[in-house]
């Protein structure tokens, strides 16, 4: 079976379309959808219609359609080959690994090279990031006027939900997908991830999830926002099935990604790469992976119950039938709050990894930084009911959740202290990645301090559910994650692709993005204080000037993203200026390898310097690494 893929390079063009590849995957996805829908039609029973909507949709058929469609897609890509071959008694192989040397084609199929999967992740997530960003532009277009003018109320809510779900679902893997997959094996000195097929599986599952979410457009959309609260979801039209399918697949992908990274970091470190020698970025991946592994199952469970409510007439979330709307809120936020730290902690890791390079100093307070990340990860499981301060659930426990929420600022503060200490008496270079890291510090400071008003029950009463909380989490997530992702792209991008970015465009991108970002989200604090709730399609006329300001700034933010896109396409596809092996004079392991990094990374086990940040000191050992092809 896999022999087709291996020898594809020598075959005529028409022959390459046969076999296990993306095209087969798409065909089998459609076939799977039709089979699922057909089976659903056979077993369709009248669903509960708690709200007299009477849509008469066959939710069972839709759910089974998604299930079989996704399975068909993955089988078509070749994920079933290896298990089937093993079941038939064939010896274990890593056959997919050998399809790497084939140029562009490997990016469109199951590939077990961690560097290829990382590039797949960047492009794939980038596409859905673009979709989510366009949704944001459309949302702000609607909010140019106090009354409905561009879209209907239903369309508007679908845009809001898709924007939130894309960003919180797909972008959750925004660092661990591309950068951890690419960097962790190089940083810890191994040639591959612990489970290379699982690594590829998480990527293609995420892409399937994104497509599932987009299908909601054709099924009436969903009105619940990214949180998908029940029983509103029970009431929703077929578009909500797409939401369930999307987030369940994202949850599965996230869980497996975290599991794979944990296994890799724990078991596959090179000899001598002890825990205290791990680069701080690997530690941040480690902390995030724990959260992914433990939090995502909660989401899947909550969505599964929602799916059962909608299809086979259970009533987990229907108060009148013995269920509870609180159940969903609880389960969702048990996942949802670790989720926001899944998004934030990799940003800490990137900043603390990059600051030593551009301040030319060792990381200040390495153990404190590790403690901070692990502390955030641990505490994030004990804060979720601060999302429910005014919901009436467990009102007696509010002082506890207030305390635990505010305690989480201690380990977060460690990250700040380590960043500040690293700058102290350094020799700071204002490169583009450095600028993005410094912007992180500014944005996250504002995001964190505005969080104080949300963590405190009396002031949360007014700010909860308003544009204030919206501004807060955009400062922490967009200001925290997206800025650091761009720092990582500009920093590691030349190494990953082998080509330099245009620096002038990069600087234009940074400054326009930083200014437009603050100009967009700072006024939202004011709008929240002035009484504007989230996710409304109308607002009082006196808030129009402020909303228009925000909308125009948001469009500028969108344009700054276009600058990046132009830079990316121009630099990587047209200019193709070869990157130096170590343009930043970094002393990290991955920069000691040649550019581009050889397929098998290392010829033999690398020997690492005992100090991950040997700035200002001579390296303790000789040549740190033995890259593939260098001979021995």
């Amino acid at each position: 079976m896999t022999s087709i893929a291996i020898s594809a390079g020598r075959q005529p063009a028409w022959r390459r379309f046969l076999g296990f590849n993306l095209l087969t995957g798409i065909v089998l996805a459609v076939v799977g959808w039709l089979i699922g829908d057909w089976i659903g039609g056979l077993i369709h029973a009248p669903s509960l219609d708690y709200f007299k909507v009477g849509t008469g949709e066959n939710d069972i058929g839709i759910m089974l359609g998604y299930l079989f469609g996704v399975i068909g897609f993955l089988v078509g890509l070749g994920f079933a080959n290896y298990p089937v071959r093993r079941l038939l008694g064939h010896p274990p192989t890593l056959a997919e690994h050998e399809s790497e040397g084939e140029g562009v084609g490997r990016y469109f199929r199951l590939c077990t090279d961690h560097k290829v999967v990382a590039i797949q992740y960047i492009i794939g997530i980038g596409v859905f990031f673009l979709v989510g960003g366009i949704n944001a532009m459309l949302i702000r277009t609607e909010l140019l006027q106090p009354n409905v003018h561009a879209f209907g109320a239903n369309q508007y809510l679908t845009l809001v939900g898709m924007h939130g779900a894309m960003m919180m679902g797909i972008m959750t893997s925004g660092v661990l997908g591309p950068f951890a997959n690419w960097l962790v094996p190089l940083m810890i000195g191994t040639r591959r991830m612990a489970f290379p097929r699982v690594e590829s599986f998480t990527f293609w599952l995420l892409m399937a999830a994104g497509v599932v979410l987009i299908t909601t457009i054709f099924m009436g959309g969903f009105q619940t926002g990214w949180t998908g609260y029940q029983p509103l979801g029970d009431q929703g039209t077929a578009g909500y099935d797409a939401y369930i399918g999307f987030f369940a697949l994202v949850g599965l992908s996230m869980c497996l990604l975290g599991f794979n990274l944990l296994a890799t970091i724990i078991t596959m470190r090179a000899p001598g790469m002890t825990w205290t020698r791990l680069p701080i970025f690997v530690w941040s991946v480690f902390a995030t992976a724990i959260l992914m592994l433990l939090a995502a199952p909660m989401l899947i469970a909550a969505l599964l119950m929602g799916g059962l409510d909608r299809t086979i007439q259970t009533a987990f979330y229907v108060a009148g039938n013995g269920g509870s709307a609180y159940l969903y809120q609880n389960l969702f936020w048990v996942f949802g709050h670790p989720e926001v730290y899944i998004v934030a902690i990799p940003g800490f890791g990137i900043v603390l990894e990059l600051l030593p390079v551009f301040a030319r100093k060792p990381l200040w307070g390495y153990r404190l930084a590790v403690a901070g990340m692990l502390g955030v990860a641990l505490l994030s499981f004990f804060v979720w009911q601060h999302h429910l301060f005014v919901s009436g659930i467990n009102a007696d426990l509010r002082p506890f959740y207030m305390l635990s929420t505010e305690l989480i600022s201690l380990p977060t503060g460690f990250t700040f202290l380590c960043a500040m200490g690293t700058l102290w008496r350094g020799r700071i270079r204002f490169t583009v990645p450095m600028l993005f890291c410094l912007a992180w510090a500014f944005n996250f400071l504002i995001g964190g301090l505005s969080g104080v008003l949300l963590s405190d029950v009396p002031s949360d009463v007014t700010t909860h559910g308003s544009f204030f909380s919206m501004a807060h989490f955009h400062y922490t997530i967009m200001g925290g994650l997206v800025f650091t992702v761009f720092a990582a792209i500009y920093y590691w991008g030349p190494k990953m692709t082998g080509f330099n970015f245009n620096e002038r465009l990069a600087k234009i991108h940074f400054w326009t993005m930083f200014i437009a970002f603050n100009s967009t989200f700072a006024p939202l604090f004011a709008l929240g204080f002035l009484g504007m709730p989230r996710r409304v399609v109308t607002y009082p006329a006196n808030l129009q000037p402020l909303n228009d300001w925000v909308s125009v700034s948001a469009f500028c933010l969108g344009l700054s993203m276009l600058v990046f896109l132009v830079n990316l396409i121009w630099s990587m596809l047209f200019k193709r200026e070869p990157a130096a092996a170590n343009p930043w004079n970094s002393k990290s392991a991955e920069w000691q390898l040649p550019t581009p990094v050889p397929v098998h990374d290392f010829d033999r086990f690398p020997v690492f310097d005992p100090d991950p940040y040997p700035y200002g000191v001579e390296p303790a050992t000789g040549p740190a690494l033995s890259p593939a092809g260098a001979g021995s």
């Binding site: 009102a395 020799r427 559910g465 709730p533």
Partner: protein, 277 residues
């Protein structure tokens, strides 16, 4: 370079910035912050916001002043040569003091917030058994807020269980809202009253507010509740007690036929789910 005491300079700059910024925040910006001074609870929230912002300001100035100072003072002056800074790997005294100071701020915030909340509930929803009742809660005027898609209705157990489509409240009175929902999750947000309480189906969520003088307040649903969520808003009024008495009497009279057909007053309602035919 080494003669300059950078640490002392940072501290002095921070003191200067803090001395200027903190009074501006505490005395100029924060008192004007919403939700205003219309009720006892909203005044309380303004005090709370002032304390939180007053504490946040020195923290913000510390980080900002440090970053600005470091970026200026420690910038690379010879970019052509790749030179490293001194290999400083930490400073245990600073780390310990950082931990002590941030812990003290956090513990103060949590303690202060808890005490303020337990004082009168701060207008937030507290579920069926409120732990923070203001004094005189036994004599509070009970108003049931019944949310449904996409409308709030108000039921008055003290006035024969009449249900009104609009909300008027007497001035200078302790009000006890009982917020519940008939379908999905809503949130009753009376902005100028400083009241926010989620309306959950099958849950009685209690929130207290003590009105002051007459005023008009905005009510908005603050939890996404379906297509017309954006249109689920209205205005309520706080009126003098005499005016309230005549208003509620008129409402009782107007809605007398409807009241007869309503079910008995209950803390929670469970409309029967429908099955598709």
């Amino acid at each position: 370079m080494s003669e300059v005491n950078h640490f002392r300079r940072v501290v002095l700059w921070w003191l200067l910035a803090t001395v200027i910024a903190t009074p501006l925040v505490v005395f100029v910006a924060a008192p004007g912050l919403p939700p205003g001074n219309g009720t006892v609870e909203s005044s309380g929230q303004v005090v709370d916001n002032t304390v939180l912002l007053g504490l946040s300001t020195p923290v913000a100035t510390a980080v900002l002043v440090y970053f600005i100072y470091a970026l200026v003072a420690f910038r690379e002056r010879e970019p052509a040569a790749v030179l490293d800074g001194p290999p400083i790997r930490g400073h245990s005294t600073i780390q310990i003091w950082w931990l002590i100071v941030t812990s003290a701020i956090v513990l103060f915030l949590a303690g202060y917030g808890s005490i303020r909340m337990l004082d009168d509930g701060s207008g937030g929803g507290q579920g069926p058994n409120p732990i923070a009742s203001p004094e005189g809660a036994n004599h509070a005027l009970q108003v049931q807020v019944i949310a449904q898609q996409w409308k709030f209705d108000y039921r008055w157990p003290a006035y024969g269980g009449v249900e009104t489509p609009t909300l008027e409240l007497p001035a200078n009175r302790l009000i006890e809202f009982h917020v519940t929902s008939l379908d999905v999750i809503h949130s009753f947000w009376a902005y100028q009253l400083a009241v926010k309480a989620d309306a959950n189906p099958g849950v009685d969520n209690i929130a207290f507010v003590t009105t002051k003088g007459p005023m008009v307040f905005n009510i908005h649903c603050a939890e996404l509740c379906g297509v017309w969520h954006g249109y689920m808003f209205e205005k309520g009024r706080v009126v003098p007690p005499a005016q309230f008495s005549s208003w509620i009497a008129a409402q009782q009279k107007q809605f007398a036929p409807a009241t007869k057909n309503l079910g008995p007053y209950e803390k929670r309602y469970f409309p029967a789910p429908q099955r598709r035919a």
